[in-house]
Amino acid sequence: MVETVLETHGLTMRFGGVVAANNVDFRLGRRELRCLIGPNGAGKSTFFKCVTGLQTPTSGTVYMRGQETTDWRPHQVASLGVGIKTQVPNVMDGLSVHENIWLAARRFLPSREASQRTRDIIERLGLGDLSRRDLGQLAHGERQRVELGIVAVTDPWLVLLDEPAAGMSAEDVERMTGIIYELNRTAAIIIVEHDMQFIRSIASTVTVFHQGSILMEDHVDRVMADPTVRNVYLGKNA
């Protein structure tokens, strides 16, 4: 059996009377690529926030590489070597592309090595010409790419991406798929996504959320063929 890098037991998150995530048991193996899908309000993003420490779950536990991280703050989770990209682009618009990525690298490396790795990543992402430009002046797709660079530069073993393809052009999505595959060579990845086409193109195991719980977990093709999932997505039995 593959080593487990992320595990949740009975993860529950309540907002007043609303149960956003209900008793979620989840596990992710080393270097696995997993997509989380589900209709709006299914609890994907809540689950994502509980795992990353952006929110503290009402009950249940989260384990990363066997260590309990339930009540941890985001910076503690990230310090373990977890790369996180949130739903809204979270970048430093007033700083250059280089500075953005350097700051991420500097967390784990001394300044000089951080600069070296930053240059490497910028080349790999094809952002070389933009290196000194302020991030705020770049196009949406480029900023998303920089944010992936921020995640990738630290060599994470677990990567959590919330809607990475949102609002991107087909060309940008393709480029990003390439980056995700590359990351997947060394890291387990969770992608929260709406875009079914994107998920199909990545072709991996999919976990379907519905009304705060996990509905099913299977390969993308079987999930797509499943009548219950189709109903959930079309809202027939909701």
């Binding site: 990353t52 703050r73 985001p74 910076h75 503690q76 990230a78 310090s79 996180i84 949130t86 979270n90 970048v91 430093m92 618009d93 007033g94 700083l95 500075e99 350097w102 700051l103 991420a104 500097r106 967390r107 784990f108 300044s111 302020d134 705020g136 921020i150 630290t154």
Partner: protein, 347 residues
Amino acid sequence: MQNQFGRDAFALLVTAGVLVWIAPLVISTYTLTVLIVYGMLALSLGLIWGYGGILCFGQAAFFGLGAYTYAIAAINIGESTLPMLLAIIVPFIFAMMLGAMMFYGRLGDVYVGVITLVVTLILYRFINSTAGPQFVLGKARLGGFNGIPGFQTLNVPGNPDSYIWGDGLYYFAAAALVVVLLLVSWLLASPFGRIAVGIRENETRMSLMGYDVAARKTLLFALGAAIAGLAGALFANWAEIVTPSLFSLGQSAEIIIWCIAGGLGTRFGPIIGAAALAYLKFLLGQQTLVDNTVIMGLILVLFVLFLPKGIVPAVVSGWTTLFGRRGAGKATALRRNRAGRGAVSHG
């Protein structure tokens, strides 16, 4: 980066040396001393607000705390060296505690502003109400609204009878400002400074990168308070009395205006803003035709409307357009875009 800082420091030392030498030919050293003190005070807010994004409405609290710490310690000790150090350390520790409470409590910017404002008010009210004889710390009476006069002023370390005053105090204050400015420059060029700017730009991103944002903001806030404390101690030595008005809201507001007028996100902006506006206030104080708060208010409004980025960024970008060359500091250029917007929305 190292080389850049070296050149930067050299240019700074030469410029400062020339200015310190020339300025007394135009303005009396007595006035210059207080301009320097205000410059240092503005720099302390410029550091945490311009580079850390922490808008502190109560920078005067640390200024007053430094001044009172100096006065009380000087009366008790009778020599100035240790009191000077205490005037830096006490505000630093106080700000550490206050900052930890605010930043670990994940308070938003507005609440940080409100809390720092209220702390200033509390200190002001408290010090004002200590006129009674029961308010004594060691040999020092707090004196309430009368303040504390007659403490040991700055002396040559180890020799309480040889005072540093007048021109001597001017050179001492100027040297202190240069040292603080060098330390601030070094700090901003270091990873700590760059990370602080990152936090100013996007706190969430920095914490998702694994940085302990609360700890770093607390430390930066405390460093700002330490600088304000040193300015307070120098002020106490200049005025030879400390009064509750050091903690007043007017004082706090003035520091913010200095920063806005001079240019946020630059090292020199707040210092220049403070010196220029304080000198203007001094000149206006010599006439009775117009009330100087009206002029100050007018200046603030004009700046926000027509020069929202402040003097220094405007001069730098003017220079760049004229001579087509990127101006003095990298940090200056870096902050140009955002300084203006920040200043307007907070002003």
